[in-house]
């Protein structure tokens, strides 16, 4: 049962990743190129030799980007399916479709949007190689805190639901999540390594493209997961996960 769901989630991840790739390619790559051009200007001005290219820019921006987004998509799709296997029919009145969309929205907010508020995506040329270890730790700490508190608040909501009703249980969940995340953001140190003369337009558009690509990915992940459920119910009625 769970195996079938895992396959479904990974397939949905592939579908969503293809669209996210198309978006990143059209609206993200121009700003990556911009940032790299700035980086090269700086190193030329400083009299440094150009970095040798292990992988050409066109491969990085094409096949490399596609591979990276696809691998990420399949992995997130799989984790999505596992979350769905835990959550489906345990969240009170929510139908399978609503459960899938709730996980997609909570995933987008908890895994991407909230951590990005504290540690936003950065184009090449922003961020020093010396601090990459510390920045990676902080980023994953923020992601872990956000995902754990989101899970915790949803579990709290299911416990509170029969006692205080859906509206107040949901409000309580949001308050618990926002509270924990706000404290985490206060505790964790800020990171700002944007060079002083880095163009604001490049930074802004790069970050917007990053978030927008994730919005496309997570929305389509939820929708594709539910379409695949309908498809599987139509093809194999009343068998396995569909017989309930």
């Amino acid at each position: 049962m769970v195996g079938k769901l895992l396959v479904r989630g990974m397939l949905a991840g592939v579908i969503a990743a293809i669209f996210a790739f198309a978006f990143f390619k059209s609206y993200g790559e121009p700003w990556v190129d911009h940032a790299i051009a700035i980086e090269e200007q700086h190193s030329t001005a400083a009299g440094m030799a150009a970095e040798p290219e292990l992988v050409s820019r066109s491969v990085q921006a094409g096949l490399g980007l596609l591979t990276g987004v696809l691998v990420y998509g399949v992995a997130i799709g799989g984790l999505f399916a596992i979350a769905y296997a835990f959550a489906n029919k345990r969240l009170g009145v929510l139908s399978p479709r609503s459960t899938a969309m709730l996980i997609a929205i909570v995933g987008l907010v908890a895994l991407i949007v909230v951590p990005a508020l504290k540690y936003p995506a950065n184009p090449p040329a922003v961020g020093s190689g010396d601090t990459i270890g510390a920045r990676t730790q902080l980023y994953f700490l923020m992601v872990a805190a956000s995902v754990l508190s989101a899970t915790l608040s949803i579990m709290a909501a299911t416990k509170l639901w029969p006692k205080i009703g859906g509206w107040y249980a949901s409000l309580a969940a949001v308050c618990i999540y926002a509270g924990i995340v706000a404290v985490m953001m206060q505790i964790l140190p800020a990171v700002n390594e944007v060079p002083e003369d880095f163009p604001a337009e490049t930074l802004y558009n790069f970050r917007t493209a990053s978030i927008a690509g994730h919005v496309i990915f997570w929305t389509l992940l939820g929708v594709a997961f539910d379409i695949l459920r309908l498809l599987s119910e139509a093809l194999w009625p009343r068998r396995g996960i569909n017989a309930a």
Binding site: M1, V2, G3, L6, F24, G28, E29, V32, L54, V55, V59, Q60, A61, G64, L65, T67, G68, V69, V71, Y72, V74, A75, I76, G78, L79, A81, I82, A85, F86, N88, K89, R90, G92, V93, L94, S95, P96, I112, P115, A116, Y119, P120, A121, N122, P123, P124, G127, S128, G129, I132, R135, T136, Q137, L138, Y139, F206, A209, S210, G213, H214
Partner: protein, 72 residues
Amino acid sequence: MSAITNPNVYNSPADDAIPLGQVLPWAVFGGMMMLLSIYFVGVEEGAMSLVSSNYVHEYVHDARHLLGFPCH
């Protein structure tokens, strides 16, 4: 209309949810495989290294930046 007669409303929570014991092994194994894949896209050679060349790191360079992982 009562919720019980309405087939669109699900109202027997947890009754036929997949038992936790059945989800757990998948969650542990699947979760580890998925996190490993994300590691290769998001972290390899950025902060840590499993493959002793920059190839994986450089190959998914643009994806890592656009997906929002810390990099340089």
